[in-house]
């Protein structure tokens, strides 16, 4: 299995993403946005500040030629995973619903948070976040559709999995930390930064492993 990590000008978590995917046994490689993606089994859009996050976070990358290719792959069912800025890009591109805008606190938040996988007895993982524009927002109709289609993947929560404003680091509606529309998935936390106990935790390994199994790229 081959996973491409798509690199835009301003991406800065691409090497971490390759390392994190390697930690779960996936063969990952970086691909510059102007180079062909080739025959890949999955694409990861890494964190960072693509195109300086000018206009809006992820907006310019969402309209880049590389995203046209990502759209084509997504239509064919190739798994796409957006992490942080990659999640913002997927929402800006309309591949995931809603939008990510400035945190309620107005602050860049660089902290460890708990997230809960949606669904009965979903595991709770501790993962780092690092963003200023992570507050998920959608209008009422979109929120209702996201709920009825089961497109929420992850929610911010307390260590025990409970939902509360105290454990919502950016003011996301419905505590949304990650979304999944079929095999197109995105999340604000950084699993690739939680793959070594020396760096504070290894729940990122659990998340990436679960992702690989869910989308069928596990080695």
């Amino acid at each position: 299995m081959s996973v491409a990590v798509l690199v835009f000008p301003g991406s800065n978590c691409d090497r971490d993403a390759v390392q994190g995917l390697s930690a779960v046994g996936l063969a990952a490689h970086r691909v510059w946005h102007r180079d062909p993606l080739g025959d890949v089994d999955a694409v990861v859009l890494p964190g960072g500040f693509s195109y300086g996050d000018y206009l809006r976070s992820g907006a310019l990358a969402a309209h880049s030629p590389a995203l046209s290719e990502v759209r084509r792959l997504a239509r064919r069912g190739v798994p796409i995973l957006g992490i942080c800025n990659g999640f913002q890009i997927l929402c800006e591109a309309g591949l995931l619903p809603g939008a990510l805008t400035v945190n309620r606190s107005r602050q860049f938040r660089c902290t460890w948070e708990h997230v809960r996988v949606e669904g009965a007895a979903g595991p709770v993982w501790a993962l780092p976040i690092a963003h200023r524009e992570g507050r998920w927002w959608a209008d009422a109709a979109t929120r209702a559709r996201v709920a009825s289609e089961g497109e929420v993947w992850l929610r911010y929560c307390g260590p025990d999995g409970s939902l509360s404003d105290a454990h919502n680091p950016n003011g996301s509606l419905d505590h949304v930390a990650g979304l999944a529309r079929g095999r197109v998935m995105g999340l604000m936390p950084h699993p690739e930064r939680a793959t070594d106990a020396l760096l504070g935790g290894t729940d990122g390994v659990a998340l990436l492993t679960a992702w690989a199994h869910q989308v069928g790229v596990a080695s």
Binding site: L55, R56, A59, A62, H63, S68, R71, A74, R75, C91, E92, A93, G94, L95, G98, A99, T101, V102, N103, R104, S105, R106, R135, W137, A138, D139, T142, G171
Partner: protein, 100 residues
Amino acid sequence: MPHFKRVVAVDLKPALLDPEGEAILGVLQHLGYPVQDVRVGRRIELTVSADGPAEADAVAAAVGDRVLANPVMETFRLEGADGTGAGAERPGGGPRGSAQ
């Protein structure tokens, strides 16, 4: 081909919390100004090559809808620099991008 200046004004939809506006409001009120609400928008000036003003309006509306505003959370309107631009507010278009 002649050039036309077009201004696209982008605003957050009223339903959206505007943390930047809140911060500015706090400072203005601290200074004693009788301001009740602040919403921060964005003004983008385009120089468009077009055969005529109507075509320039159409180009500005297209880029406003497709790129400059995110219809999920923003609206945009055209402010024609030469007075010919359409002034009507435009709600965001439908789903974005060619795949939609």
